[in-house]
């Protein structure tokens, strides 16, 4: 999978800060901290240092109008307001698309994961392999494949048109295509944690629910759903976070009016070479995701998570 420019946000959320080893630790007790060392070194060199450098870049100003002349550091916080005012639309769109795709993925993945966990029997392993099978092809190729599938002359559009379900007569280069693509690409990240969570639930709990006068839907609402919350939280985070920073789907499946913030950052870095703006956008994206995720986990956490 390609790593979008903003993906370090995942690590920000996911890496616990280890407590500093207390002085006077015996050698045996220090071993766990030594085991941390390679990972810490790796993260320092390839995450912390670039992050600091990125932050520094976001506060630079151009030397002249020509990007070839470079930038100098002068605590230029106006880059942030500039970035927001120029690309606020794409910024908001990113979260809307990512949110829609996450909900869609949850709606598709939950029944599927439920089936695999409780009903698949001996087909369980095979179905799980099929879930991850798309990873055998590159992210980029799979997204290109969707261009063909959703193309104007394709059978999907023909079918939908025949059913009068398409107001614009097309799918490709519309927001629908972008959201569909994101949903598709991140679906396994939703299915797997959901499956892991559901598979841990003792099927006898559902029987106990039925035995205690709960109709199937009530049993689901009161027993299965709350117990699958860890999977729901993990799955939505693993989908939403990378989806918000994604730039491949919007570029390949959307029109220029459907650009997401990932594409903007990409073109600012690579084509326009306005490094301070691109860095500021990256930081804004990261900060927003961090805040949203914190609120989300806090709220979900109050519901008696196991």
């Amino acid at each position: 999978m390609q790593i979008p420019a903003s993906s370090p946000a995942i690590d920000v959320a996911g890496v616990p800060t280890p407590a500093a080893p207390a002085p006077g630790l015996t050698r045996g007790r220090a071993v766990p901290y030594w085991l941390l060392l390679p990972g810490m070194l790796w993260l320092t060199v390839f995450f912390v240092v670039p992050l600091v450098s990125l932050f520094a870049t976001s506060l630079q100003s151009p030397v002249s109008d020509n990007p070839d002349d470079g930038y100098y550091f002068n605590w230029d916080f106006s880059n942030y307001s500039e970035a927001l005012s120029r690309y606020g639309e794409q910024y908001v769109r990113s979260f809307v698309f990512a949110g829609l795709a996450t909900l869609l993925a949850l709606a598709i993945a939950y029944p599927l994961a439920y089936f695999i966990a409780f009903k698949a029997g001996r087909w369980k392993a095979l179905l799980l392999v099929l879930v991850v099978a798309p990873f055998f092809a590159s992210f980029l190729i799979r997204t290109y494949a969707w261009r063909t599938i959703l193309a104007d002359e394709g059978f999907v559009v023909d079918l939908l048109n025949a059913l009068n379900l398409l107001p614009q007569d097309r799918v490709l280069n519309t927001p629908l295509a972008v959201v569909t693509g994101i949903t598709y690409n991140f679906l396994p990240f939703m299915i797997l944690p959901l499956y892991a969570s559901l598979d841990k639930i003792d099927p006898r709990l559902a029987e106990a629910g039925a035995d205690l006068y709960a109709k199937p839907l009530t049993t689901f609402r009161k027993v299965i759903w709350p117990l699958s919350m860890p999977g729901v939280v993990a799955g939505t985070l693993l989908t939403f976070i990378p989806a918000a920073g994604d730039y491949i789907n919007a570029r390949l499946l959307g029109s220029t009016n459907d650009r997401m913030i990932g594409s903007v950052i990409d073109s600012q870095f690579i084509i326009v070479r306005d490094y301070p703006i691109a860095s500021a956008l990256s930081f804004l994206l990261m900060a927003t995701i961090l805040i949203l995720v914190t609120i989300y986990v806090r709220r979900a956490g109050t519901e008696d998570l196991l």
């Binding site: 006898r204 035995d211 205690l212 009161k222 196991l306």
Partner: protein
Amino acid sequence: MASQSVKQVEDLHLVRLTKRYGEHAAVDDLSLTIPAGSFFALLGPSGCGKTTTLRMVAGLEVPTAGMIRIGEQDITALRPYKRPVNTVFQSYALFPHMDIFENVAFGLRRRGEKNIEARVNEMLELVELTPMARRKPAQMSGGQQQRVAVARALINRPDVLLLDEPLGALDLKLRRQMQIELKRIQTEVGITFVHVTHDQEEAMTMADTVAVMNAGRIEQLGAPQELYDTPRTAFAANFLGQSNLFPGQVVARDAQSVQIRAFGQQVLLPATKLSTDSDRVIVGVRPEKLHLHRAGGAVPEGRNTLTGVVTDASFVGVSTQYLVATPWGQELIAFEQNMGSAERPGVGETVTVSWEPAHSFGLDGSDDLNAGIDDDLLEVGHYTAADVEAGLVPAPATVPGG
């Protein structure tokens, strides 16, 4: 509970109940009436169909054929959540995300009952868990979880409470304690309990009526003492306690007693304790009914006797367990209480084994003599009376104390 009007409790009827999985019949044409308010045990080895029977009553398994009724109401096709039946699951199936109070209140809430708080507290008191109300199941011991499971089911005042090996996960000491506890609760609430277990001692301790199940059918049904004293099949004789079984031939019978010849010895048994019309029979007697007499010792008049050689004597405190090899190669088990008076016979000694005729029972000669004994405990395979008569029986028949 006091708040609820007195409920008309009704009998549970299973009528020709059958459950097939493919060719295999887990429950085979089972008919049974469980009287209202009784403590009923379904006893049998694993795979005998007892749990399947229970699950069909709960509605968690759909019968292939037959009917389940409570009183006059046919519940065979009713969805589980509509049945006036609750289950205490094996390993409890408590809702791990709810505290004890909410677990117990679950059924009441689903039915939109009133007074939930008071009723849950009352129930928690009955099972002595009031201080634990706000704990999660994972924070409690096995015995406590077990009591929560009972409370969660009982609070709904079902017509029938089903218990699926409810004590299986507990250690021996706790199990004994919970047996008494469950019996107390059952007496207190007066609801019909149907208890599934493979532990014969548990079934006998708790139940008013025990049904011994084997291969999807009921072998024998009755009060524990009746089952123990007069088993009707070799399976029942071996599964419920231990038995000495050996083949014989009926030589004379009258209204009171039956005379049987077994390997040249005359054995008497009461006519009421013979379960077959056939002349080929199996004579059975419980190990603790046997008495060992050393050579030269006087045997009281009227007792059945056999002679044999002591091959093993193990002292187990309250009693000594003897293995006595008969001339035809079977080994009998005898438990002698340690009264401390007479000198005990030693290994290798020839002894006379005697017992009261009233303590023997007679089974059909075509039964498998080792039916109902755990295959793991058998040093030899299964055999019939004919095999024994043909001298094909290797010794020993069973492991002592198993």
